[in-house]
Symmetry: C2
Subunit: 241 residues, 2 copies
């Protein structure tokens, strides 16, 4: 093995952009981004990474890898083991066996669908969907998704999760229709996709508790019932300052 001075390689990451997301807070953020096509956002590019020539040819790809920093976890540091929500929060796993934010170097990785590129300096961005990043997430790299490279043959599939039945109260249905008409955001679909992945914290799954989560600027309240969920109310809130 070649010896190299790794300590000289503590190279600082420079954000190339910031995620503008429908998820203002961690709660509700899907754990499987591909299953939430209505989760939309933008990568707002920063100088000097907002030049159109740096993205020439990106339009040939349907999907992109976004490498980002779990910025909310940086202050909390990393942990050798975590309790992944996918396993009900009951089993400890090594952090490298999970996608936990509490990992050394705090790097996150998600594949997203590319919807549109806009270069109109100083407002240049990539519109993307199927995201699982919280608003304000710093992006450190964007790469094309190449199936031949990125889909290993014979990979073991992750255990699937059952799809739950989701009931919307008539008030909520009305709210969603009005909201979508005025903003163009597919709130109804996104609520369904997020709930289908069971966003309840691991320790709180047995209770009949009502939860609230922010999607864009809407506080969505829901609770578990029978084999699914009921969405009880939607209310617009002031954006976080």
């Amino acid at each position: 093995m070649s010896t190299i001075n790794l300590d000289g390689l503590h190279s600082p990451m420079q954000p190339i952009g910031v995620i503008e997301s429908c998820f203002p807070e961690k709660f509700g953020v899907p754990r499987q981004p591909g299953l939430t096509p209505s989760a939309t956002g933008r990568i707002m590019l920063r100088e000097p990474f907002d030049r159109p020539e740096m993205f020439r040819g990106v339009e040939d790809f349907s999907h992109l890898w976004v490498v980002f920093l779990f910025h909310q976890a940086v202050a909390e540091g990393w942990k050798p083991t975590v309790r992944p929500p996918r396993l009900g929060g009951k089993q400890r796993r090594g952090v490298f066996a999970t996608r936990s934010p509490h990992r050394p170097n705090h790097l996150g990785l998600s594949v997203v669908r590319l919807e549109e590129m806009v270069f109109d300096s100083p407002l240049s961005y990539l519109r993307i969907s199927g995201i699982d990043m919280v608003d304000g997430t710093p992006v450190v790299d964007i790469k094309p998704y190449i199936a031949a490279t990125d889909q290993p043959a014979n990979s073991v599939p992750a255990p699937g999760e059952g799809v739950a039945e989701i009931v919307f109260s008539s008030d909520v249905q009305r709210f969603c229709r009005r909201y979508e008409a005025s903003t163009g955001r597919r709130l109804h679909a996104l609520i369904g996709e997020v709930l289908a992945q069971d966003p309840r914290p691991a320790g709180q799954r047995s209770r009949e508790k009502e939860f609230g989560m922010l999607l864009w600027d809407v506080n969505v309240r829901w609770r578990r019932q029978a084999d699914g969920y009921i969405v009880t109310s939607c209310e617009r809130v002031d954006p976080p300052t």
Copy 2:
């Protein structure tokens, strides 16, 4: 969009390990790792990331993401556009439309197959295959490959490349048999997999030139002929110091 102080997030990457690879140099490194199952290596873990509990559960996954630093490109900096070898080196593409090492933050991303985990401090490592990293590459993250998350539906496949016919001289065949018997390394298969991806530099494809490339400690000489390649000689060399 929330405002966060991105400049405070120039967080340094700390290598968790170093790649020990069959590719001592950049030349010959495949551009599509999944197509070279015989390309084997190890992630040599560094303290304090060499603790078995940090990898508990990793054995449930057949494949892993390795996030690494293109350390050889760090000194060269990044470029807004590059000429990808996949396109014959003739067309310029934005760096974010490629997997080029000359990218902001110099992060690399490869999916590899997990073969074995060994924790025997101070020699702890993950044995992996299907790699495309050069020897000495610093690793900054390891994540499980989760098909449900990492394989988007309806992604556009990358253009396939034709498989070339590869001829081994009888001397080379004999060399490979002896080498494989004494080292356990599948040299013959690896040569085939590497050549099938056409490792010739973009500007040198039209010439009838002989090339040499290092695989492990073997200098492999070959040249293009007709619809394929002929491997003309193999010679053991002293490992690089």
